[in-house]
């Protein structure tokens, strides 16, 4: 062991491509599974959430307008850069989730591979979910999937990296932008993921990561008129109904929380892509 004193990292928010502290100045203590001090994480506020929504809305045009091939390459790049930080993620996941080294490694492996899986989806969704409609008239009529817009994601509370990637990557693959509230007690891998995203050609604002309490920030996102959809996966069980009711105000698309946190290593299929996709149908007459 080297006797060199380590340079510790300040864990901050990731908003609009930058790493600000919470405007509220609040932090909270993050501990490892045995209660030992790990870091003080920024505790995001309502204002941070609103800033994040503005960033996500601003970034939506460019990200949704990028070619599917381009989005696929960027998401693949995330996997590449994440792979390079493999050891760091293993350490953070093991500490935060209290996993053995081998189980932490399996989670990180699966998280990297999940980016690869979704990177490959971007340019296939149109063919798989869209198509020409054989209408009974002289028209060419086709339907295509399009991103819903700005998606608020309450990330899983237990699986701090694989769970997070499993809910975030499909939102991005469809062309949406995201405002994520991370696991409250295990936020550190999310901040490191922010550093990966910031260096993977993901445009600033496409992903915004807020460390803090989904119970506190969730309602502001659920009722925000410029949020188009909300994933309640990591919502506190006793708050899910309230959040869904708030989301009804602007007719948000809602993904309800599962009864308990699922096994994130399972094949996700399209189940997390389609809730954040709209179908657009275009008609044009045929004639000489």
């Amino acid at each position: 062991m080297s006797d060199r004193l380590a340079v510790r990292k300040t864990y901050k928010l990731y908003v609009n491509g930058a790493f600000p502290r919470s405007e509220s100045g609040r932090t909270y203590e993050v501990t490892d599974a045995r209660g030992g001090f790990l870091a003080n994480a920024a505790q995001a506020s309502r204002k941070d959430a609103r800033d994040a929504v503005v960033a996500a809305r601003t970034a939506f045009g460019k990200w949704s307008g990028a070619t599917a091939y381009n989005r696929g390459q960027v998401l693949y790049r995330v996997a590449e850069v994440m792979e390079g930080r493999h050891a760091q993620f293993c350490e953070e996941v093991a500490a935060g989730e209290g996993l053995s080294a081998s189980r932490a490694r399996a989670a990180v492996d699966a998280a990297v591979d999940r980016w690869v899986w979704y990177a490959g989806w971007t340019d296939k969704l149109g063919a798989v979910l869209g198509g020409a409609n054989p209408v009974a008239g002289p028209y060419f009529d086709f339907s295509l999937p399009e991103p819903t817009g700005v998606v608020a994601v309450l990330a899983p509370q237990r699986s701090s990296l694989l769970g997070l990637v499993s809910v975030l990557a499909p939102v991005l693959a469809g062309g949406n932008t995201a405002v994520v509230v991370t696991s409250r007690t295990r936020p550190l891998p999310a901040v490191t993921l922010g550093e990966v995203l910031a260096t993977s050609d993901v445009p600033g604002g496409v992903v915004n990561l807020l460390t803090g309490d989904a119970g506190e920030i969730g309602p502001w996102l659920a009722e925000h008129d410029d949020v188009d959809a909300i994933d309640l996966t990591g919502a506190p069980a006793d708050r899910a109904m309230e959040l869904e009711r708030l989301a009804a105000g602007s007719i948000k698309r809602v993904v309800r929380p599962p009864a308990e946190e699922p096994d994130w290593s399972a094949d996700p299929g399209l189940s997390r892509l389609t809730p954040f996709l709209e179908t657009k149908t275009v008609w044009h007459p045929m004639g000489l």
Binding site: S143, G149, M241, L273, V282
Partner: protein, 480 residues
């Protein structure tokens, strides 16, 4: 002097329909009395009372849901999918056989011109059943994931603007996917749904597969809030949609909403003006503008504004408003006194806010609910008539200079149901269609519908699709 263009009256005979003096609820294959106070349904063109219709209470709705659950568990769920399909084919054929009867009844109860009920509503309703019939035994190939299963009992609440067609949009996919239904038609237009109940009997559809409960908002609420309903499908206003979304929050119920709209119909300077004018007229005046996807905001490029408006006014001057059963009628009656009051109010607000109202010289019948086709020019994006859904024959005209401005103005709405583009330039059609945040985009046409073509909104126009492969997902467990 006889005007060359005067038409002789050409009324469709109403003798083909036999409206009973009163109707009950259709529950478990039988017509039964409702426990609520019956309500009257009137012909909006004459204010004549057509019939008295039963009103379903919570207890009546509960009976209907139980019947639907029984039918789902014992008959419809276990049935061979191919046989379910055959029942739907039967229904499609019966609708075609009795098409004229349905069309006349629809025009009587709703006020829409017979030309539309005969040529659009009823044929499309039959087509929806025919289309979905074929899906019943092919769901494994719908690309919605492995082993799709029905949800159970669907509670469906539909509006008054296309009564039979909206019934078909709801009932056909629900049955094809193996669900049973409890449907509540709109209070002002229950009659074709009740005639549809008779079609279900003629088809020997097993009792309880389709249940029809008539009534007002309370009946709808009972359907939506019933604990044993697995799926709620609603078409109607965004305001009611919001309250339904709140009501199902925290439950296991699945929900699809098809809500309001404020569609932009964009006319570029290179558009074929005569065709565009036809499309504008069709887009906002068909069905008296009682269309959620109506092209109620005309965005016209500044350089052709005067030409388009002049041509539009000339064309509107030839529209014939009046007797819905007359085959030459273009614009029928407003569906209810309540809706007429809303259209009048918003039109007055339009004037008060500074827009210019134009209406053709147009004689309105003395009885009944009528509103002439109306065009507002000099409308600003902040005006209520540019933002609120009027749901009537009222067009708001705005202008733009560049395609970017057109897209920005078109998207400047909380709605996102439909939009129109008129231009001869193909690349512009595709680029603008790509940037419009709307579920259906009609280019060089407007208000086209087909059962194979998914329909539904972005943003506050709702979620879920109806029609096509996509529409099946709303009624299947595990559909992705």
């Amino acid at each position: 002097m006889t005007n060359l263009f005067e038409y002789a009256p050409a009324p469709e005979s109403r003798s083909i329909v036999d409206v009973a003096p009163s109707y009950g609820l259709f529950v478990d294959g039988e017509f039964v009395d409702g426990s609520g106070t019956p309500f009257k349904t009137v012909n909006p063109a004459t204010e004549e009372v057509l019939s008295e219709v039963a009103s379903a209470t919570d207890a009546d709705v509960d009976r209907a849901v139980r019947a639907a659950r029984r039918a789902f568990t014992r008959v419809w769920g276990p049935m061979r999918p191919a046989d379910r399909g055959k029942y739907l084919f039967r229904i499609a054929r019966l609708l075609q056989e009795r098409a004229r009867e349905f069309a006349v009844l629809e025009s009587l109860d709703n006020g829409k011109p017979i030309r539309e009920s005969r040529d659009v509503d009823v044929p499309l309703a039959a087509a929806h059943f025919f289309y979905h019939a074929g899906w019943a035994d092919k769901l494994d190939w719908a690309g919605l994931g492995p082993g799709p299963r029905p949800l159970g009992v669907a509670g469906q609440v539909i509006p008054w603007n296309f009564p039979l067609l909206m019934l078909a949009w709801k009932v056909a996919p629900a049955l094809a996917t193996g669900n049973t239904v409890v449907l509540k038609p709109a209070e002002t237009t229950p009659l074709t749904a009740l005639l549809f109940a008779e079609v279900c009997r003629q088809a020997d559809l097993p009792p309880g597969v389709v249940n029809i409960v008539t009534g007002a908002g309370d009946t709808g609420r009972a359907v939506v809030e019933h604990e044993d309903v697995d799926k709620v499908a609603f078409t109607g206003s965004t305001e009611v949609g919001r309250s339904i979304a709140r009501a199902v929050a925290g439950t296991r119920k699945r929900l699809t909403l098809e809500l309001g709209g404020k569609a932009a119909n964009i006319v570029f300077d290179d558009a074929p003006i005569d065709q565009a004018v036809e499309g504008i007229v069709q887009g906002v005046f068909s069905n008296q503008g009682h269309v959620c996807c109506a092209g109620s905001r005309l965005l016209v490029q500044e350089s052709v504004h005067d030409e388009v408006i002049a041509s539009l006014q000339r064309r509107i001057g030839t529209l014939r408003l009046g007797h819905p059963l007359d085959k030459n009628t273009d614009i029928g009656a407003i569906n209810s006194a309540e809706q007429l009051a809303r259209i009048r109010e918003l039109s007055e607000v339009g004037e008060a806010e500074g827009a210019n109202r134009w209406q053709p010289a147009c004689e309105l019948p003395e009885r009944g609910f009528w509103f002439p086709p109306t065009v507002f020019t000099d409308v600003s994006p902040a005006h209520r008539i540019a933002r609120d859904e009027v749901f009537g024959p009222v067009l708001s005209v705005l202008t733009f200079r560049t395609p970017d401005e057109a897209v920005a103005k078109a998207n400047n709405t909380t709605y996102g149901l439909s939009a129109g583009i008129w231009t001869e330039k193909g690349s512009r059609i595709l680029a603008v269609a790509d940037r419009l945040r709307a579920g259906v985009v009609w280019a060089n046409t407007f208000n086209q519908f087909d059962p194979t073509s998914p329909f539904g909104g972005y943003k506050q126009s709702g979620y879920g699709r109806e029609g096509g492969r996509h529409g099946l997902a709303a009624y299947l467990e595990g559909a992705q």
